[in-house]
C-alpha cells in the first residue's frame, strides 16, 4: 500500500466529491479544495473546468469580480467550497466571528460570497480541517449563510457534504441533518462523537475513507503540485510532498 499524508487523503476525497462536475470554482484561501479540483481536472477525461480565484493562470473569467456570481446564478457552476469558523448541525455556517455581533470577541475575515453562492451552487462542499466542538457546534453564533431555506426563497443550491480532518459527512436536505459517511484512516467513531458538537445520523458500520491510489498520488505530487504553486506557494512548499523530493 502506498503511504499518503492526511493532506493527500483530503485532496483525493475532494476530487472524488467533484466527480461528474463540469465547472468547479474555488474561492480564495482554499489550498486543499483548490488542489482537489486541480486533481479532479488532471484525472478527468472530459471537459472539466476549474477556476481558482486569486490565480492568474487557472482563472479564465474576464468580466471582473461579478462574473463568478453571475455564472453561479445562471447555473453554470456545479460545485463550490465554503468553510466557516463554525458549522452547525443544520449546515448553517459562520464566517464572521465568535460572540455577539458586531463586537465579536474573535473576528474572522467575513462572509465573502457565501450568502449568495450557498443558495445557488448545486453542490457546495463544506470544508473545515479542524474537527472539534469549537468548530462543529450545535448552533452557530452568526449565520453568514443558512443551510436550508423556505420555499419562497430561490434555492437550487446548498450543502452536499462536510469534509473535516477526521471524517466525511453527507447532508440530507429533507431531514436537515448530516449523516456520517466515512471516517478517515487512523480515527474512530468514539473520537468523532467526542469532537462533534451537533447530533448526526450514521450507519451501523461506518466505512473508512479511501485514500488516494498510486496514480492519484503521482498526479498530486507532480502536475497538481506545480499548478497549485502559483496561487498557494506557502502551502505547496510546506505541506505538499513533491515527487522530485
Amino acid at each position: 500500500m502506498s503511504a499518503f499524508s492526511k493532506t493527500e487523503l483530503l485532496i483525493a476525497t475532494v476530487a472524488r466529491l467533484l466527480e461528474g462536475c463540469r465547472h468547479v470554482a474555488v474561492g480564495a484561501s482554499s489550498p486543499i479544495p483548490g488542489a482537489g479540483a486541480l486533481l479532479a481536472r488532471a484525472q478527468g477525461t472530459g471537459a472539466f473546468r476549474v477556476n481558482l480565484l486569486g490565480s492568474r493562470r487557472h482563472n479564465f473569467f474576464t468580466s471582473g469580480g461579478v462574473e463568478l456570481f453571475d455564472c453561479a446564478a445562471e447555473g453554470r457552476i456545479d460545485a463550490f467550497f465554503l468553510g466557516g469558523g463554525q458549522i452547525d448541525g443544520e449546515a448553517n455556517i459562520n464566517l464572521v466571528g465568535l460572540g455577539r455581533y458586531p463586537r465579536t470577541n474573535l473576528r474572522w475575515p467575513g462572509s465573502f460570497g457565501s450568502a449568495y453562492l450557498y443558495y445557488l451552487v448545486p453542490r457546495v462542499i463544506l470544508f473545515r480541517e479542524e474537527h472539534s466542538r469549537r468548530t462543529l457546534v450545535d448552533k452557530v453564533d452568526f449565520v453568514s449563510a443558512p443551510g436550508a431555506s423556505p420555499p419562497d426563497v430561490y434555492r437550487p443550491g446548498g450543502p452536499a457534504a462536510l469534509l473535516t480532518g477526521l471524517a466525511l459527512f453527507a447532508f440530507d436536505k429533507e431531514r436537515r441533518r448530516f449523516r456520517l459517511e466515512s471516517i478517515h484512516p487512523g480515527h474512530g467513531l468514539e473520537e468523532i462523537l467526542a469532537n462533534t458538537g451537533f447530533a448526526f445520523d450514521r450507519p451501523e458500520e461506518v466505512p473508512t475513507t479511501p485514500g488516494p491510489d498510486a496514480d492519484q498520488l503521482a498526479l498530486l505530487r507532480g502536475r497538481v503540485r506545480a499548478e497549485l504553486a502559483e496561487t498557494y506557494p506557502r502551502f505547496v512548499a510546506s505541506v505538499l510532498e513533491s515527487s522530485a523530493a
Binding site: 480564495a28 484561501s29 489550498p31 486569486g54 492568474r56 473569467f61 474576464t62 468580466s63 471582473g64 469580480g65 461579478v66 462574473e67 456570481f69 446564478a73 464566517l95 464572521v96 466571528g97 455581533y101 458586531p102 463586537r103 465579536t104 470577541n105 474573535l106 473576528r107 474572522w108 475575515p109 467575513g110 462572509s111 465573502f112 460570497g113 457565501s114 450568502a115 449568495y116 453562492l117 450557498y118 443558495y119 445557488l120 452568526f142 449565520v143 453568514s144 449563510a145 443558512p146 431555506s149 423556505p150 420555499p151 419562497d152 426563497v153 430561490y154 498557494y232 506557494p233 506557502r234 502551502f235
Partner: protein, 276 residues
Amino acid sequence: MESPILPSLAALAARVPDGAKLAVPTDYSGVAMAATFALLRRGIKGLHLVCVPASGIQAELLIGAGAVATLETSAITLGELGPAPRFVDAVKRGSIRLLDATCPAIHAALQAAEKGLPFMPLRGLIGSDLLKFRADWKIIENPFDARERLVAIPALAPDIALFHAPLADREGNIWVGRRRELVVMAHAAKNTLVTVEEVRKESLFEDEALTSGILPALYVSAVAEAKRGAWPLGLWDAYGDDEAALERYVAAAREEDGFRRILASWLARPQAAAAE
C-alpha cells in the same frame, strides 16, 4: 483641457477629503498602496471604506492608523498569512462601525449606481444574519411572481474610487485589462483616482488590442505615476507580493506598538518618498 496627470502622489492624496466614502479593490485586483501611504502621511481620517468586495493589507493599515470610521466589506483577510490583526482588534474594541456584506451585494450596489438605478434586486441573503444587521437592505416581493422574495440592495455611489493599474496615457485613459470590477467602481463613483506604473505618450486607443481593457478618461478624475505602486502587494503579472515584507508586518502588528513602528518605517521608505 486640464491634464489629468498629477505631478505627485501627495497631489493625488490631497483629493481625498476626510470622511470620504472611498471604494478600493481587493488585494489581487490592483491596490493603490503607494497612494494609501500618501493618504496616511497626511493623516486622513473618518473614512467610510468600501471594499470591492473584500480587502487585505490596505484596509488593515487604514484601520490600524485610525483612518476608518465605517467599514463596508465582505471580508478582511491577509490570505495565506492569516487574520488581519489591527482589523480584528478594532472589531473587538468596537472602534469601527461595521457594514458586513456579501461580495455580490457590493457588486450589485455599484452596478445599480452605474446604471443610475435606485437599487438592484439580489437572490440569496434571506435567512443570513447579514440581512438582520443591514437596515439599508430590504426584502421585496418579486413583482412578476409573488411566490418569491428577494433582497433590494440600494445603489452605492462612492465619493472616490481609488486603484492602481499598469498603464495610462496622457489623456487619462487607463488600461485595466480584464479587471472589470475596476471599471464598475469607476462608473459608480463620483470621482476616480488612479495610480499607474507608467504614463505613455501615445493614446491607448491607438492599439486596438488594448481597447476592450480600457477605462476611458471620461470616468477618470486624476492619475499619478507610482512605480511599484501596489507594494507590498503585487500587480498581476508585473510583479508579485513582497512576501517577506508582509510576513514582517504580520509578526509586528500583533501588538499596537509593533504596528506603529512598522507603519512608520513603511511611511518613511525612500522609494515612496522618491515617488512623491
